[in-house]
């Protein structure tokens, strides 16, 4: 066969190969359900890229396999093949065509990025805080509303203003497609307009230490009326209306903002730290071989200086950040309600209620 006939044959096979690859790809490679306007935009790009992947993959593979089959050396043939060392036209062609394609895709990507990140009318702000290994969500437009679940009204443009308390984390709900890291010391932003009512899961996508795997939060997209009802139900009462035990339970939860629950359970099951069930008055075996009774002084010291007395069997992973966080919160309550609280005292009162 002449070279021209080989080219015709292989071109036909490339077309067939690209079609087969495309159908294989779209059959086996699925995106999760799209549940935001961002997902709709981004999925169009995924569609085009899948087509391009199928084409370029088939182009090279089919040419290569064709050569492997057709240009196999015959047994006993010791002659060299034809002396062809290049072709400038072809070289320019396969440099320029991909270059044009790259620029076109770049323009599309840049335009799309602008659309994904620019401000929208009537945005609702949600403040997202990530810390090892829990999430909390604050709704500044509603008084005293902090939640461990991310609840969003459907079709409402959302601006997430995010901050990490300790190490890097990353916000990713696959159904919303977009992703953004949370960085200590600076606010990062992400815009989402959820379009489908349903339950989703937020998973931290940046390695953040021991229990990174478990850094999850429920995401619920609900109707506007359900959202309003939820806001009403979950807004926090004034601190003065709560007992110390109730405040302690609040500080413990993700809703209260300190998320002790990320590592300490209250049902006796294992966590990254010791369970609080039956903690008060318990004999704790420490890593250095000594034993200590969990009293007020011990609990206070363990919160302020977590590395001092480590319970045997638990890694030393609790960050020494709570002294500053508690002081800030106490000052805030003092300013707002003219009420003096001691958060550690509240927590100890709460722990005392957790007897087996």
């Amino acid at each position: 066969m002449s070279n021209r006939k080989h080219i015709y044959a292989v071109s036909a096979l490339v077309v067939v190969g690209a079609i087969v690859t495309y159908f294989g790809l779209t059959a086996l490679y699925k995106l999760p359900v799209g549940a935001s306007t961002e997902a709709t935009t981004i999925d169009q790009m995924f569609g085009v890229y899948f087509g391009l992947i199928a084409f370029w993959f088939a182009l090279i593979m089919v040419f290569m396999l064709y050569a492997v089959v057709v240009f196999k050396r015959k047994p006993g043939d010791t002659e060299d093949a034809a002396h062809i060392h290049g072709n400038t036209t072809v070289e320019i062609l396969w440099t320029v065509v991909p270059l044009v394609l790259v620029v076109a895709l770049g323009v599309w990507g840049a335009t799309t990025l602008k659309a994904l990140t620019s401000e929208r009318e009537g945005e609702m702000v949600v403040r997202v805080t990530g810390q090892q290994w829990s999430w909390s969500f604050e709704y500044p437009e509603s008084d005293n509303l902090v939640s461990g679940d991310l609840v969003l009204p459907v079709n409402q443009p959302i601006l997430l203003k995010m901050r990490a308390n300790d190490v890097l984390h990353s916000f990713w709900v696959p159904e919303f497609r977009v992703k953004q890291d949370l960085v200590p010391g600076r606010d990062t932003e992400l815009r989402i307009t959820p379009t489908d009512i349903g339950d989703y899961m937020l998973r931290c996508a940046e390695i953040c230490g021991l229990s990174h795997t478990d850094m999850l939060a429920k995401v619920r997209v609900v109707s506007q009326s359900d959202f309003d009802a939820w806001v009403k139900e979950n807004s926090l009462p004034a601190m003065s209306e709560l007992s110390t035990e109730e405040r302690g339970a609040l500080w413990y939860s993700t809703q209260g903002g300190f998320a002790c629950s990320g590592c300490h359970t209250v049902d006796g099951s294992a966590g990254a730290g010791p369970t609080w069930l039956g903690l008060y008055g318990r004999q704790e075996a420490l890593e250095d071989g000594t034993t200590i009774t969990a009293d007020d002084a011990y609990i206070r010291n363990s919160i302020l200086h977590p590395a001092d007395q480590i319970v045997a069997g638990f890694p030393n992973v609790m960050p020494p950040i709570y002294e500053a966080q508690f002081a800030a919160k106490e000052a805030e309550i003092l300013a707002e309600e003219n009420l003096t609280v001691d958060i550690i005292e509240d927590l100890i009162a709460y722990i005392k209620t957790l007897q087996e």
């Binding site: 070279n3 080989h6 995106l31 999760p32 981004i42 790009m45 995924f46 890229y49 992947i53 993959f57 090279i60 593979m61 040419f63 290569m64 050569a67 492997v68 240009f71 050396r73 043939d77 002659e79 060299d80 093949a81 034809a82 002396h83 062809i84 060392h85 072709n87 070289e91 440099t95 991909p98 895709l105 770049g106 599309w108 990507g109 840049a110 990025l113 602008k114 994904l116 990140t117 300790d166 190490v167 890097l168 990353s170 696959p174 977009v178 992703k179 953004q180 890291d181 960085v183 200590p184 010391g185 600076r186 990062t188 931290c204 940046e206 390695i207 230490g209 021991l210 990174h212 795997t213």
Partner: protein, 618 residues
């Protein structure tokens, strides 16, 4: 002397003993000072200082510093070449030796050993991941294993690159050795204590930051992170010294008549890779030192509470760690370009374009680092710049693919094991290639970033760009460095296990990544539909692991039992095949002269080099 005695008195063992002594002295020194000052007990400062002194202890014990110390004292140091006096030939490989071929083989053997260690880590956590729920590992162990897998494999790849470059480049350009033989030995030997530090870090409690060691996590991670970061840092000396040596060797020691565009194509790839290593490694070294010093002496670089910036680290880190992937793949792609003409009996299609595309990839590779930070909080203008730069890498990479296929087109192809691995490399690198642009475009990357899609993509580029070509190179040059032919049947078995195994593994990883599987997690929710694919990935990983063991067996057993290979079993035009196998101590007893093009297969009467310039009539 008995075998055991030779091993026990070898440079390697003396180095390891020296490392232990150095570690003890350094640790004791700092700990005693701290005790004397009445400071609270904290093993970390002692461990860090001990780690640094342990490296000096290793180098002194192994004998790397002997000649340089004598220079400092003004003593004569003849460049010793040849086997260790009174010891068998193999003892050379356990001692500090200045022959580039010995050093190349030391690199290769260490690379494969380290590859097996990193592979065992991978297999262990792959078995853990094959079922949802935690099977037999704790989170701590899991995090340490995946972090260790990353950095250990990077060490293995750098050693493998060192192996190919060291063994081949002087032979290919007609030099008797590298420009600086003692520095060359240092480059190899310093990577050994670095690997010891990394593995020690895993053993004394591990760490949970991955191989990237991002602060603030790396600032609060367990002590193991310090030894890993220091091992990484020390390994940088190997890269910098090795690459400068290589650049000077190529610049000044080429055979007569070997202009740049008449060098074997692998040399171009080695030069492009060395340019990156010589200029980028310092940046990551600085980033790593900043983590060490912030932890140990409290210099603040990364804590925002007192004016630091955690994102700063990512810029410094990726300014090296992105280009370094081209250090990994460029030599591999060079091997593909080097072998294809031999097994196709046709000239390399578009030699100059391929040569320049290596430099193009190396240069553009410096401008793409922030694509690792597309979702890290970098502003849009910068993100768009880095997006274009990233996608431009596709152009010179495409040139390579097209040129390879065009080289095979109308050739006379034969399929011995090295050629099979070249074809496997192209197919696997193609998977990595076509799945990259979708990560380079920001909107699609916002979904795929830090997902298993990325895991699949970079394993495909690493296997296609380094592992497959490295194995092709081991088989192809095996008859040259051992003198004997490997067993073809076992080589083919290795290929037919590893290639489908790898395809399944990386295609599976990308499938679950698209669905939402995160990187670096120890467990996953069974309701997400990843289970079956995870089993497939684990089985495929096991197949790859076994196939590599088959290669190791083949290469070890063939060295004794197989027939002699002769000077040029592949009928190649390249200079190293025109001399005996294994080559003489100083490579070319008579210098050669370049009189033709390197890849003019099929041009009647043409030769690349003439071995005896006196007969050329010039």
């Amino acid at each position: 002397m008995g075998t055991l005695r030779i091993i026990a008195t070898s440079g390697l063992i003396r180095g390891l003993i020296g490392q232990a002594i150095g570690a003890a002295l350094g640790f004791g020194f700092v700990t005693l000072i701290r005790l004397g000052m009445g400071l609270e007990s904290n093993p970390e400062p002692g461990a860090v200082f001990g780690a640094l002194t342990s490296v000096i202890g290793f180098l002194a014990g192994a004998g790397v510093l002997t000649d340089w110390s004598k220079w400092a004292l003004g003593k004569e140091t003849p460049l010793r070449h040849g086997p260790q006096p009174g010891k068998p030939e193999w003892a050379r490989y356990l001692h500090v030796d200045y022959n580039h071929k010995v050093i190349g083989i030391q690199y290769a053997v260490t690379s494969v050993l380290v590859l097996l260690v990193g592979g065992i880590f991978a297999i262990t956590f792959r078995i853990e991941l094959s079922l949802p729920g935690m099977q037999f590992l704790t989170y701590e162990q899991y995090n340490t294993l995946f972090s260790g897998h990353g950095i250990v494999m990077i060490a293995s790849i750098l050693l493998g690159v060192g192996a190919m470059v060291n063994y081949l480049v002087p032979l290919m350009i007609g030099a008797s050795d590298m420009a600086f033989p003692r520095l060359n030995a240092f480059s190899y030997w310093v990577s050994v204590p670095a690997a010891v530090l990394i593995l020690t870090g895993m053993a004394i409690g591990g760490w949970d930051t991955g191989w990237v060691a991002y602060p603030p996590l790396s600032l609060i991670a367990p002590l193991g992170v310090q030894l890993f970061v220091l091992g990484f840092f020390v390994n940088g000396f190997s890269s910098i010294a090795g690459s400068i040596n290589l650049l000077i060797t190529v610049a000044t020691m080429r055979a007569k008549g070997m202009s740049l565009f008449k060098m074997p194509i692998f040399v171009w790839a080695a030069v492009a890779a060395a340019l990156i290593q010589a200029t980028a490694t310092q940046t990551v070294g600085m980033a790593l030192l900043m983590v060490v010093t912030q932890r140990v002496i409290g210099l603040n670089f990364f804590d925002p509470a007192t004016g630091g910036d955690p994102v700063l680290y990512q810029h410094l880190f990726w300014f090296y760690s992105h280009p370094v992937v081209y250090v990994f793949v460029l030599p591999g792609l060079g091997v593909i370009s080097e072998l294809l003409p031999v097994f196709s009996r046709k000239p390399l299609f578009g030699y100059r374009w391929i040569a320049l595309s290596s430099l193009g990839i190396a240069l553009v590779g410096f401008l793409v680092w922030a694509h690792h930070m597309f979702v890290a909080g970098v502003d849009n203008t910068l993100r768009v710049f880095f997006m274009y730069a990233t996608m431009f890498v596709a152009v010179p990479t495409g040139v390579k693919f097209f040129s390879w296929v065009a080289t095979m087109w109308e050739g006379k192809l034969s399929f011995e094991t090295p050629m099979l691995f070249v074809l496997g490399a192209i197919s696997v690198f193609l998977i990595g290639g076509v799945t990259g642009p979708i990560l380079g475009n920001i909107p699609t990357d916002m979904h795929l970033h830090d997902s298993y899609w990325v895991v699949g993509h970079f394993h495909a580029t690493m296997f296609g760009g380094f592992v497959f070509p490295f194995f092709a190179a081991l088989y192809y040059w095996y008859p040259k460095f051992s003198g004997r032919m490997y067993k073809e049947s076992l080589g083919k078995l290795h290929f037919w296990l590893m290639t489908p195994g790898f395809w399944l593994m990386s295609l599976g990883q990308m499938q679950i990544g698209l669905l939402g599987m995160r990187r670096r997690v120890a467990d996953y929710d069974p309701s997400l539909g990843y289970d079956t694919t995870h089993v497939v990935i684990t089985v495929a990983g096991l197949i790859i692991g076994w196939s590599v063991l088959i290669m190791a067996y083949n290469l070890i057993s063939s060295a004794r039992s197989q027939p002699l290979a002769g000077n040029n079993p592949w009928n190649s035009r390249s200079p190293e095949w025109q001399i005996s196998s294994p080559p003489p101590e100083f490579n070319y007893d008579v210098p050669f002269e370049v009189v033709g093009e390197p890849y003019d297969y099929g041009l009647a009467g043409s030769v690349y080099i003439r071995m005896d310039p006196s007969s050329s009539g010039e």
